[in-house]
Amino acid sequence: MRQTMPVRLGAAEDTLIAQLKSVGADATAERITVAGLPTRRVESYHYTDLKTLLRTIPPLAQAANEASAPALRVPGAYQLMIANGVIQAASTAPAGVIVGKAHGGVLTTRDDVLVHLNGAFAKESLTLTLENSIDPVIQIDRRSEGEAAHVTDSLKVFVADGASAVILETFSGSDAAHVGNHATYIALGKGATVTHITVDLSPRAAAHFASNEYHVGEGAKLRTLAIHAGAGLSRTQLFPRYEGAGAHGDITGLNLVSDGQHADFTMDALHAVPQTTSQPLFKSIARGRGKAVVQGKLVVARDAQKTDAKLMSQGLMLSDEAEILSKPELEIYADDVVCGHGSTCGKLDEESMFYLTSRGIPKEEAETMLVRGFIEELVDPIEDEALAEALHGIIDGWLLGGK
């Protein structure tokens, strides 16, 4: 009686299907054939309709011949580079860091098209085992070089019990319409402490997709900061799982969008066992016709009593045409919990602006001061001074960059 419409496939989907078949990923190809790329009807892509936003897929990346200038240098950092999905030779690793390679992708399978695609296209992944606390910042410099390319890469990090580390990932490359699909898997042992920072500095023409999966063990502390400050279309998916009592996560993100950009944080966090805590905090600043999206979901499993989780999403609009879309979700199956979320959205506080301008500070400078104040909460907890300074540099670059 009822007619069901077959999914109409676009050029991007056709290319993806051909590419998937060329690497023998028939199951994923079939999936795209049947369902197409996700539209707004797929809840987790409600505000990032890939079918409309992703019109073309460049050819699969080949090994890079040249490299562009590094987008971010942190003095004293230990650097590793993956260019066009190929792991580059590295300098001697600091004591306690074991660098290796593994076949295939790193993410746990889930019902998500980006995760499926990464798994299908990832040839090799970089693995790091951190046996003890590592002093220097570990920087993974991920590049998309040469002509526009569909780049897939992945990283897996094991952090031993009681160890601590700061891991920085940067995404950059040549000025071309790349599509990057990046995956990171980090497992924290008992009592481990990890700060994980990802900064997208891809060219404006590129589309940047990253999926970060975290396994936080007993008593482990995780802090993350993801910054979108590059690609025209960016989406970072965050999948933290709190798997041992006392596990804690400060998952944070910063969307910096200008005219015509679209940036999306989508978090799906699982509090799997009792007595875990998290405080996700996302901030979005939009100007021009920029569009910022934050979707955050806190899931508390049936037995995960005494969970304490508070999700916050704050948006700041610097223009009348900007859009900030947020969907903070709670899915709670245990009763003895304290969970909440908050979401606010508005423009700069007029009273504060008045306070500053009435004291002789020019309007633009006053704006910059207030925006810095708004962001400070995210960068402040990062202890490594050189790294914090580098991040401030990126934020200031965006703030002072053209409207």
Partner: protein, 501 residues
């Protein structure tokens, strides 16, 4: 004829008896409206088809334009698929295995209450709905409430019509309105909820049977509360009612809606559409106490409540306020919304949603800011107990032209027991820089301290829970009309019966 009513108790006796009944019902069964009334019915042939649509239209003596409108909706419906985004699970509903029209069989439409089947009046009395136009009872002056009573597919009686018509207010069943005020119906019907808005709304457009029609003329403040009482009585019957309320410029109306159904093993479908239109400076206050049969303790039976309610603040500075108390239904899928089109218009949504047993609630609101200086306020309180799932799903959006749009949202969930789930899914969409949105949500349980405090002062565990929950929902309760407030407090206690210990 009048003597026939001698046996019908007065309202006071009714209240006394209701108290005794509700106390007694705690032991036996918590759902006190679960009785079935044996009234002869006139039914449509089973199943959904173009013929069913024609049958309904014919039964209602509808003009040709209405039939065409229905058939158009039916054809649209055939191309649509059921929505699956809500967090509710239920077996496939067989639309061919139910009746779309059931009417209490009575000789030509009753002209006055005296001609109405006494069994019907007795039934409504049992439900606590006064069909007789009583003004003063037991020496207490009670505010007048005009009632439109809808049983299964038809409106059986509408009270206080004459008094209302003196000030130009039209309050009648929608079937009558289609016949008598076609120009108003044609102008406003489906102007808020378009025919093909969603799967259930389209089904409703094709097969809706009755409901209320309210028209408040310019500058009139409705002198009494208007109320509709819905009751599903027949087996295997779907109820598809349609309500349309129009408030002309500078008018005001407060409207109450209540619903119950007998206890049955099989699930029954209720798919209603409610449309509100508020013109310049008009205000509509719409309150619902939804107490459909929620199914038994194992989750068998109950009403599937798939409702589309939407208000259109069409005029400048108009205001629409939704207040709902959701305690019944096996599945609730309901999002009373406000389209804030007029500059300076205001939308409000106050909700209490309680789920127990195996109930599933996915309810919330939409506040769509289109005009300048529009504001909205959402306060939603969800309480989940037993094995139930309770989801708040709400959308707040500001269009690019909605300068200075303002929203405040607070949704709190309370979990009682560790087998239930409470979820919050807000969609906050700000599409212009001058909009200011604030949203806050919390989930918690009743603290041991609160329970200890109440219990050591002599309250039983259940009384303590009821007291604390009533405190939890107070922000919403105070927005209910007086008549509903007391009933609601009682209802909350009964709904949560058996959820502790």
């Amino acid at each position: 004829m009048a003597d026939d009513y001698a046996d019908i108790p007065t309202l006071k006796e009714n209240i006394d008896r209701a108290t005794v009944d509700s106390v007694r019902s705690l032991d036996v069964d918590k759902y006190k409206y679960g009785f079935e009334t044996d009234i002869e019915s006139d039914m449509a042939p089973k199943g959904l088809s173009e013929d069913t649509v024609r049958f309904i239209s014919k039964k209602k003596n509808e003009p040709q334009w209405m039939l065409d409108w229905r058939l158009e909706a039916y054809r649209r419906f055939l191309t649509m698929t059921e929505p699956t985004w809500a967090k509710v699970h239920y077996p496939q509903i067989d639309l061919q295995d139910m009746y779309y029209y059931a009417a209490p069989k009575s000789s030509p439409a009753p002209k006055s209450l005296d001609e109405v089947d006494p069994a019907l009046i007795a039934m409504y009395d049992k439900l606590g709905v006064p069909l007789k136009e009583r003004e003063i009872l037991a020496g207490v002056e009670r505010p007048k409430v005009a009632v439109d009573a809808v049983m299964d597919s038809v409106s059986v009686v509408t009270t206080f019509r004459e008094e209302l018509s003196k000030v130009g207010i039209i309050f009648c069943s929608i079937s009558e309105a289609i016949r008598e005020y076609p120009e108003l119906v044609q102008k406003y019907l489906a102007s808020v909820v378009p025919v093909s808005d969603n799967y259930y709304a389209t089904l409703n457009s094709a097969v809706f049977t009755d409901g209320s029609f309210v028209y408040i003329p310019k500058g009139v403040r409705c002198p009494m509360e208007l109320s509709t009482y819905f009751r599903i009585n027949e087996k295997k019957t779907g109820q598809f009612e349609r309500t349309l309320i129009i408030a002309e410029a500078d008018s005001y109306v407060s409207y109450l809606e209540g619903c119950t159904a007998p206890m049955r093993d099989e699930a029954q479908l209720h798919a209603a559409v409610v449309e509100l239109v508020a013109l310049d400076n008009a205000e509509i206050k719409y309150s619902t106490v939804q107490n459909w049969y929620p199914g038994d303790k194992d989750g068998k039976g109950g009403i599937y409540n798939f409702v589309t309610k939407r208000g259109d603040c069409r005029g400048a500075n108009s205001k629409i306020s939704w207040t709902q108390v959701e305690t019944g239904s096996a599945i609730t899928w309901k999002y009373p919304s406000c389209i804030l089109r007029g500059d300076g218009s205001r939308g409000e949504f106050y909700s209490i949603a309680i789920s127990n047993g195996y109930q599933q609630v996915d309810s919330g609101t939409k506040m769509l800011h289109l005009g300048k200086n529009t504001s909205s306020r959402i306060i939603a309180k969800g309480i989940a107990a037993g094995f139930s799932d309770n989801t708040y799903r709400g959308q707040v959006s500001a269009h690019a032209k909605a300068k200075n749009a303002r929203n405040f949202t607070q949704c709190d969930s309370l979990l009682i027991g560790d087998k239930c789930g409470a979820h919050t899914v807000p969609y906050i969409e700000s599409r212009n820089g001058t909009a200011v949105f604030e949203h806050e949500a919390t989930t918690s349980k009743i603290s041991d301290d609160q329970m200890f405090y109440c219990q050591q002062r002599g309250l039983s565990e259940e009384d303590a829970v009821a007291l604390i929950v009533n405190g939890f929902v107070r922000d919403v309760l105070q927005h209910l009309p007086m008549e509903f407030m007391v009933e609601t407090q009682k209802l909350i206690a009964i709904s949560l019966e058996g959820s502790v210990g």
